[in-house]
Amino acid sequence: MRAGGIDPRRGMTMRNLLVLLLLTALGIAPAVVLSVNKPVRMAYLQNDIHHLALWVALEKGFFAHEKVDVEISGIFRAGPEVMTAFAAGGLDMAYVGEAPATTAVANKACRVVVVAQVNTEGSALVVATGNAGIGKLSDLGGKTVAIPGHSTVQDFLLKKALKKEGVDLSRVNVIVLKPPEMINALRTAEIDAFIAWEPYPSQAATMGLGRKLATSRQMWSGHPCCVLVCDSVFLDANLERVRGVIRAHVRATAFIREHPEEAVRIGVKYTGMHAETVRTAMDTVHYTHELNIEGEKEYVQFLSELNYIRVESPQYFIEQFIDGEPLKSVTQK
């Protein structure tokens, strides 16, 4: 301690604090993107046949037709990772499962809104072919089932179906694997079953490793699955471009229905799987752009029951979460 003047130790602590604050301020957060000249950054899930509309739109040049420049900024292994990318400011729009999107927004990880539906149904629970012990869903008690991630649509479907069958959730060993790993784990009998988006269930069937015990339609008929989401800040600043993307999406969704064989070809290109597998996979998926509010209510309620999210007012949440205006303005031309 020196006599007279500030205690140099205290002075240094203040200085350290200011330096810390300064560095933090500099290191932070993405500037609001003046996105006029930059392409729209989009993402989809690896080998997820639900996102076929996006692939069709890319291949057929639908985005270019709307004069919107689109760039694929990421191909992710599961929904929650897409949401983390939004949180980090790395994406503008994405095709992603409604469950992980709901979870992320409810837990305030990021602010996105749902602007269009992508598909309903289109997942399946697969058990190993040799596993005769599992004849129906209620046989899953005490077994090991793989999901692509917590709070994914598949996680949701599995638990909802099990609850409906009266199976005690704590008795089922639910583990997380990425879909490509699921097929292998089924082969080596480390898991008894898995639930994943198409085309993985169809691939397991084609390879003779598994059989579909239940499709997601059987678990929850007409359930909404993937949605087209948009970062809310981006939406406010780029309404016209977002509308262009939605228009392309609607057109691509119709294209799949009208030109199934060409759609299969595009599906083969983006998944690398056989045409037969892709065709079978597509059969279980219902491609539609129409928003499903009722389905989202189910998501919010059950995710709350699972304690993944805590939402004070589900009604208010859904109103904020789903924005039907851009879609309406595009389809009511």
């Binding site: 604090l17 932070i28 957060a29 599961a78 929650p80 837990n107 990021c110 959730l169 784990a185 898991i191």
Partner: protein
């Protein structure tokens, strides 16, 4: 003395709280210390994923580390002593070690899954790899560092080869062995989180817990989990330090 050392972490936490209160960093990127504490409470009471409480994650992770580390020590210590003892053994083992050691344990994950499947064994294997090399190399160095004159003194007292090995090399290299063990457990514990990315079949593990918190977008629980890992790592090291002090009173 100890009070002074607490000053730095306290200042750090205060800065952190201010940064988040002032919303200089948004909450979802960096939860405040208060939120992290609440997240910790959720981990303990609610669990992550819900229904999987923190305590079980800790126990499963400790078990995995215990196995991976024990195997590493059981193989590395005798092999290290042999390496220090014999030039011939060094000539055989060293080139392999130098080749394999630089490969990060994490790079072994795909192979580990292939060999051991998903689950604790694969994770234990990754931890084994992390712990093995520091223990091996420190042990060998410890033997080599034993003053040659002590070996000669033993020979002058009519020691046979076995006597020199067990009564001179082993006790003489204990300090280095323990140093290696401390480094090894540190690395082994650090590899834990990544090791559990192999997908743990048992559904429990601190790394798995953090991954799930990421999936459900709970950064407060992610950080709380990280802190738990850090504190346990500190605890383990302190235990080894105590062991070191007891075993090496002759230094």
């Amino acid at each position: 003395m100890k009070g002074k050392r607490l000053l730095s972490p306290i200042i750090f936490i205060v800065c952190w709280q201010i940064l988040t209160l002032a919303e200089i960093i948004p909450a979802f990127k960096l939860p405040s210390p208060a939120q992290v504490l609440l997240g910790l409470r959720d981990l303990i009471q609610l669990g992550m994923p819900p229904g999987h409480p923190l305590l079980y994650h800790i126990l499963y992770s400790l078990e995995r580390v215990f196995w991976g580390y024990s195997v590493a020590v059981l193989i590395a210590v005798p092999l290290g002593i042999a390496m220090g003892w014999s030039q011939k053994i060094r000539d055989v083992v060293e080139p392999l070690v130098e080749l394999i050691r630089p490969i990060p344990p994490l790079a072994w994950i795909p192979i580990a899954i292939l060999w051991f499947g998903i689950g604790g064994t694969a994770a234990g294997f990754i931890i084994f790899l992390g712990a093995f090399f520091p223990v091996l190399l420190n042990t060998a160095a410890g033997v080599l560092a034993i003053d040659a004159i002590l070996i000669e003194a033993a020979r002058a007292l009519n020691a046979r080869g076995r006597d020199i090995f067990f009564k001179v090399l082993v006790p003489g290299s204990v300090p280095s062995i323990i140093t290696g063990m401390r480094i090894g457990i540190g690395i082994g514990w650090m590899t834990l989180v990544a090791a559990e990315f192999t997908g743990v079949k048992q559904g429990y593990g601190l790394g798995y817990m953090i991954m799930t918190a990421r999936d459900i977008q709970r950064p407060d629980e992610i950080i709380a989990g990280m802190l738990v890992i850090g504190i346990i790592g500190l605890g383990i090291d302190s235990c080894l330090r105590l062991l070191e002090r007891r075993l090496i009173r002759w230094r």
